[in-house]
């Protein structure tokens, strides 16, 4: 049966997760990364309202940990990752410093963007991680990065992560057309969580068939059950390998689900948009639980090891909060300098000065023609 949100909601507990030839260290690392991301989001979520210190919209990604965890093991330091409003998982995946994420959300000067961007627009250029809250915008920019890599033959790849909602935008299809035409080293990762805010994909698109849509544009596409972390790892690994060999672009559509409100820690079910039984299906198929089952079966994880891991993560999170809360707020020094760069070292180096000659004021303007 073709994978889709409709078929998934009819199925039960997912039993196909297999470690196969996955190295144990990789499997454990996938688990660890998912758990770290989950606990971090849970902690931010719990603190969000009580403190009123994270004064920016946050789109939590609880339930969608598999893709970020898989990406985190596969991306190289000099690859570029572009993401959207639901940015934390991707920030995490690119290995950008989490304490700077916390500080950014707290609006502090030590934040990744010194408090200018907040959660939904965060970037960490040192880690080549960029995001932004206008749907599909960062997808378009990723095309340029991939073109840069291709023209300069650097071997780097670009990855763009986004939701199925972004594919409503025309901008997205310009990206498909051009990257397919140019065969760019570019990986598109769609986390299809069925909804754009409260709007079901099938309210916005005739069918749940993004992969079918992109293929005729010259973009290779694969859909997977996105809560199976080992499968996500294998799929992304294979695609990224092909991209590095010049065989691009590719798209991976991962079916997954967001447990919380679209934005913020509230429950937005008062808007009554979720299908009955759906939340239960997805909680039952939590990506962390699915992998944990298998790891325990295989004797790769036990209660003691998990408790150690939880402790380590809790310490890390506490340190991140501490860093953020103890950091100073930014102060405005110069609005101009925050927006414009007046230094121009390259122009200084390459260009001379010249004196202006005499523009003849009496000459005729260009004879205009039709084209």
């Amino acid at each position: 049966m073709e994978l889709s949100h409709r078929t998934l909601s009819l199925s039960g507990h997912y039993r196909e997760l297999t470690l196969r030839d996955l190295e144990p260290a990789v499997a454990l690392q996938l688990f660890r990364q998912m758990l770290r991301l989950r606990r971090m989001e849970e902690a931010l979520l719990a603190e969000y309202h009580p403190a009123e210190e994270m004064r920016c919209p946050i789109h939590f990604c609880i339930g969608q940990e598999a893709i970020p965890a898989a990406l985190s093991g596969l991306l190289k330091a000099d690859d570029f990752l572009f993401s959207h409003h639901r940015s934390h998982g991707y920030y995490f995946a690119k290995g950008a410093p989490l304490k700077e994420l916390f500080a950014e959300i707290y609006g502090r000067s030590t934040g990744a963007d010194a408090g200018n961007a907040g959660s939904q627009d965060i970037s960490h250029s040192g880690s080549h991680f960029y995001s932004g809250a206008i749907l599909s915008g960062a997808v378009s920019i990723s095309v340029g990065a991939a073109l840069g890599f291709q023209l300069r033959k650097t071997g780097q790849i670009a990855v763009a992560g986004f939701g199925e909602g972004a594919t409503d935008e025309g901008a997205f299809w310009e990206a498909m057309n051009f990257s397919g035409k140019r065969r760019l080293p570019l990986l598109f990762v769609v986390e299809n969580n069925r909804y754009a805010t409260f709007s079901d994909q099938l309210k916005r698109q005739a069918d749940d068939n993004i992969c079918e849509r992109v293929r005729p544009f010259g973009v290779r596409a694969t859909k997977i059950f996105g809560n199976d972390a080992p499968l996500a790892h294998r799929t992304l690994e294979a695609e990224m390998k092909r991209l590095r060999e010049g065989d691009g672009p590719a798209l991976v559509e991962a079916y997954t689900y967001r447990w919380n409100s679209h934005v913020g820690p509230e429950d937005d079910s008062s808007n009554n948009y979720r299908a009955p039984g759906e939340m239960e299906f997805w909680k039952d198929n939590c990506p962390i639980v699915l992998l944990e089952e298998r790891l325990r079966e295989r004797g790769m994880l036990d209660d003691a090891a998990k408790a150690d891991l939880e402790r380590e993560i809790a310490l890390e999170i506490a340190a991140n909060f501490k860093f953020a809360k103890e950091s100073p707020f930014p102060t405005v020094k110069d609005w101009h300098r925050m927006n414009f760069e007046d230094a121009s070292p390259m122009a200084d180096r390459l260009l001379g000065t010249a004196s202006r000659g005499g523009f003849d004021p009496d000459q005729a303007e260009s004879k205009l023609g039709p084209y």
Partner: protein
Amino acid sequence: MSRQLSYAKAILEATDQAMGLCPQVIVLGQLVDTQSGIFGTTTGLVGKYGAERVQDFPVSENLMTATAMGASLTGLRPVIVHQRLDFMLYSLDAIANWLALWRFKSNGKSAMPVTIRTIAGKGWGQGPQHSKSLHAWFAHLPGLRVAVPATAYDAKGLLLESIFSETPAIFVEGRGLFSMTDDVPEKPYRVRFGQAVIRRQGKDATLVAIGSMVPVAMRAASLLEKEGIEVEVVDPRTLNPLDRKTICDSVSKTGRLVVADPAWLSFGAAAEIIATVSEELGDRLKSKAARVTLPDSHTPMSMALEKEFYPDENDVAAAVRKSLG
């Protein structure tokens, strides 16, 4: 030695030199790789630098802009070209939601040195979808520089400056200027943003002229000279940053201000210039400020209407005379 070059050729030379100086410079645009080359401003570049660096782009203006932006993050210095400013409107999301705020959003850690060339159409029945001139829109956005070169000299120097500076730039060219010539030095040189030029000295009134209104203003000044009126013509050359000081200094000398702008009257660049002067010298003006612009109307195709739509030197001269009372 002085060498005359047309505005179009000055743009071509600037691009050619930039590509020669720096292998990171690339050019993207519909038809940039053709013989006709966007009014001759890109002709021959593809032969010299190859189809990777001089790329015909699909008719996808939004993506073209974003592509330049992403490419700039990898170290390239893209120049993109729109044959008409109107086509560029598909890319305003990329410009206003991303390009303009990229540096800000990263707290200055990431830059996008992208240059966007765009041509404001005029004349010969271009009609309402091929003649818009929206430099005031771009100048309203923080984080972007906006050049409105009126002469070949400035076109070359400002284009080179745009390509090799760190802040993204919108470079607005006037279709009526392409064959006009000027002394243009051969070497690659820069014209700085935010430095207006006094094209003609005068004591009776300040006439600030933008882009393709500069030659018109100069002709108006010649007309007025015959009547004994000495007009100081100021060409701001760039709108963001805007050289408010040179403008205000001139008006504080003459006490009178007329602004000629090849764009719609209301909420345009002329208003900004008048407001600037009013803030600095408001109680010291000798007469009311005036604007000579397009009417608040879309561009009619018929030549009978075009004639009335576009202001000429007589309209400018009349406004100056009126401000002199």
